[in-house]
């Protein structure tokens, strides 16, 4: 092991998802193979071809409190709830505020607040818009609120890359620590976009499942009968910490946040490049950054959203990037249960990947009844035990999380056993 850079570890986890209001309930539901997808009961859904979604299991406003909640978009509320959990889970570290950073973002931002404010503007005039409208609609709002809550002065950042945002935020957090700008970083992603406009806008792209009669069976990554993604909402959060800082305070890490890899397709604004070259690059770069050999990889939490196009491209790219080592790698798409949390996805799925590494078990991909012939990887349909060691012997086992976004953004993260 070279010592030319700071090792970054994960010491806290937080999540609020369609499966549960915290990490424990979310992870338990994943292992039990439960779907969080339901019919949308709001009247606006009636006009749309898509009438299913994975709404959050717990109302974040309840945890935040009424007065604070009315100043925060729902996506910001999710992020704060997840951040509080992650922080407490890390043991509420004592850290110099100048050395505490935030890297939290959203793919879309406060769209619910934007739409509501626009309605108010048209119906009642500009003076009736909440003076908190701008802080509620800006995608960096969550980072700002979290920096205030935990008094983080090292910098609060919000990179935006659509559905890769949550993973990119974690990558950025790793960089903040490696570059010496912070000792501890709260990093993650959030989304609250189950609104008529978003559902309609994704539906008009033909990107969403229209399996309205069978909500729980609608999100079916890698299955031959998959017909698009299901929109989810919520947030995932990790506490990243330099290994030396964690050691000094006696914190036991869940995992090493070993590396991140990025690429951009430069191909189409919304379609993945069919050759998957960008995905291969992101995975290969992440492994190189993490100094991890493909043979150490035991599990991949795939981006796989249940679209006909994307799942196959990713699976083929995984096989190419990992080479012969792909045999024995257990792949899961937890979106089969949570739906697609857009900017929250990469963060929630990193939390799931870290839980999988901790418990040495891969969560199932539900609704996978007939594996697509174009998918050349081993996808778990039941919880599957993972190797306790990297398959080549002594090196620690590694897990990957992939996240890709409209705009051609590809992000891959690597976590290794602590």
């Amino acid at each position: 092991m070279t010592v030319d850079r700071e090792t970054v570890v994960v010491t806290g986890l937080g999540a609020t998802t369609p499966l549960g209001g915290d990490v424990a309930s979310t992870w338990a539901a994943m292992l039990a193979g439960r779907s969080g997808v339901r019919a949308i009961t709001e009247p606006w859904a009636a006009q749309l071809p898509v009438r299913i979604a994975a709404q959050a299991a717990a109302d974040p406003a309840e945890a935040i409190g009424r007065v604070q909640a009315r100043r925060m978009d729902r996506c910001e509320q999710f992020a704060l709830v997840a951040a509080r959990e992650a922080w407490a889970d890390a043991g509420s570290p004592e850290v110099d505020p100048e050395r505490l950073g935030v890297a939290v973002t959203s793919g879309i931002g406060g769209i619910g607040s934007t739409l509501a404010a626009y309605d108010t503007l048209n119906a009642k005039g500009w003076q009736r818009i909440s003076p908190y409208t701008v802080p509620m609609l800006m995608p960096n709002g969550s980072a700002g609120w979290i920096s205030m809550e935990f008094t983080a002065h090292a910098g609060a950042h919000s990179l935006v890359s659509a559905c890769a945002s949550g993973a990119e935020a974690i990558g950025y957090g790793i960089d903040m620590i490696r570059s010496g700008r912070a000792d501890v970083v709260l990093a993650g992603g959030t989304e609250a976009a189950i609104m008529a406009l978003n559902v309609g806008a994704f539906a008009v792209m033909r990107a969403m499942s229209t399996r309205n009669d069978e909500p729980e069976r609608a999100s079916r990554p890698f299955d031959k009968a998959r017909d698009g993604f299901v929109l989810g909402e919520g947030s995932g959060m990790v506490v990243l910490e330099s290994a030396s800082h964690a050691r000094r305070r006696g914190a036991a890490p869940y995992a090493v946040a070993a590396g991140a890899g990025y690429s951009s397709d430069a191909y189409h604004i919304a379609h993945p490049a069919p050759d998957g070259a960008g995905v291969v690059s992101a995975i290969s770069r992440a492994l190189a950054d993490a100094r991890v050999d493909p043979s150490q990889v035991v599990h991949v939490n795939a981006h796989a959203t249940s679209t006909p196009e994307g799942d196959a491209v990713e699976a083929q790219a995984l096989a190419k990037a990992l080479g012969p080592a792909v045999d024995g790698v257990v792949v899961s798409s937890t979106k089969s249960m949570t739906g697609h949390l857009l900017g929250g996805a990469g963060a929630v799925e990193s939390v799931a990947a870290i839980c999988a590494l901790r418990d040495r078990v891969a969560p199932p991909t539900i609704n996978l009844e007939d594996l697509d012939d174009e998918v050349p990887v081993d996808v778990a349909t039941q919880p599957r035990p993972l190797a306790a060691h990297g398959r080549s012997g002594s090196p620690p086992p590694a897990v990957l999380n992939n996240a890709f976004g409209f705009g051609g953004h590809n992000v891959s993260l690597v976590f290794t056993a602590a």
């Binding site: 009315r70 003076q127 003076p131």
Partner: protein, 83 residues
Amino acid sequence: MTDQEILAGLAEIIEEIAGVPADEVTPSKSFVDDLDIDSLSMVEIAVAAQDKFGVEIPDDQLKDLTTVQDVVNYVAKNAGSTA
């Protein structure tokens, strides 16, 4: 409208918008120093007060209304003039 009625109405608004319990909204309290109400919430309170009392509080007046009593006085003085 008596001063008591205005105070009660204002306290209700402040509780709704800023979460300060109504019984803590007493005349001598300063919005910023005692009730921890920021300028954004003051804008919202002023608009709600306009709806409730029918008294418009222009921005150049609002910045001079620093205590609860200041707002009560302003509303009492201008009530009916813009309703």
